[in-house]
């Protein structure tokens, strides 16, 4: 399920492959070198596996700065060029408020409540529509 990746320094963020979607889970601090490496890894993984989407799970991120906001935007732009959609999933309220206060509203970036929902979204047309249908349909 995971693409084999070479040895990396501490703080390295793995890129997991789930079908034709890539899953990246950010935890805690993201250092400059790790962010650089992550952007490169994602680009290579999309090209290698012809992935349709990238899900970035930020539910483990508690503190955010402008750097992380820029990294997210850059990953999205890069993925877009490689014809893959980027979805940011599970952002905490405090992080969302800080991002907005910093003026990083990430326009054009897709978002989802949870990573599960984001991944499921790539199976159909619209993540919200799909999950809601199944929920409303069940008694």
């Amino acid at each position: 399920m995971t693409g084999g990746f070479p040895q990396h320094a501490a703080g390295h963020v793995p890129v997991l492959r789930l079908g034709d979607v890539l899953l990246v889970t950010l935890q805690g601090d993201l250092h400059d070198s790790a962010a650089e490496q992550l952007q490169q890894d994602i680009g290579e993984a999309i090209a290698a596996h012809r992935s349709r989407g990238v899900v970035i799970d930020v539910s483990g991120v508690e503190i955010v700065d402008s750097f992380l906001g820029r990294v997210l935007a850059e990953i999205a732009a890069k993925a877009e060029l490689l014809a893959a959609q980027t979805v940011v999933a599970g952002m905490r309220p405090a992080v969302a408020i800080t991002m907005v206060e910093l003026g990083l509203t990430l326009p054009g970036l897709r978002t989802a409540l949870t990573a599960e929902e984001a991944v499921r979204g790539f199976g159909g047309t619209d993540p919200v529509l799909r999950t809601a249908r199944t929920r409303l349909g069940s008694p």
Binding site: V88, M91, P93, A96, M99, L113, R135
Partner: protein, 299 residues
Amino acid sequence: MPEQEAAEQHGVPEREIGDFLHRRREQIAQRWADETFFRSVFTVSREEAVDAGRALVDALAQVAASGRVTDPEAAGFSQVREQLARMCAARSRAGLTPSEVSRDVAALRPPVVDLLVAELRDAPEQRLRERSNLLTVLMGTLRVIVMEAALSENQALIDRQRMQLMEMATPVIKLWDGIVAVPLIGTLDSARSQVVMETLLESVVEQQAHFAILDITGVPTVDSLVAQHLMKTVAAARLMGAECVVSGIRPAIAQTIVHLGLDLGSVVTRASLADALAYALRKLGADIVPPSSHGAGER
């Protein structure tokens, strides 16, 4: 030599006042119990008033003995601070202003000074004046403490009420599976907007809501600050993966927003809470049918 003697004598007048208060404790407490400050608080039993008076005299005696008559932070006062706060609270509940309370406290001084004068009748005038000045200073410090207590009591009341207002002001309602709403009522300031934003976003996570409706039907005016907060809330909800709908913008407010030149273009708006709910349900894939054909719908 006289200077050295004076230095040795330093603190003695204070100690003498302390002794005096200690000795006359019972008499002072009895007299104070008849003063307004005590009488109006301890209406049920006089014994209680005398007890409170005794505690206060003890505290004053201790402060005098420690020689810190001008220091409101003196150790002796800490024991009576709470009791004074309680008495002040009772007085302000009765509708008294701080200055009236202050006058009541000032009335506690004459009985004590009278006792001191009576005791030092035969002493040299210089000594009497010195002692009575000291006692007056001590009573002045007591007054400062009472004022402090009265003000902090009022502040605590305001804080408590503000908290209650905050709690009442921001209920998050779950309208449907995946739809939450906040009906905002009353004027929004930035502190309240912040609370609204936080509670709404928290409930988005809690309820796993895809839609959050901000209903501003009950908001009388919208200024640029409030509008900015609304935009921030909408943007933050979007970052979390939920969609925010603003409903209940009244014509006057719509006009204000246009006059202010604010661009709410990126925000989904609906005329009423009902419209917003219908929009959200439709987006969730539910069918809304008119009542004439009821029963045919999904719910």
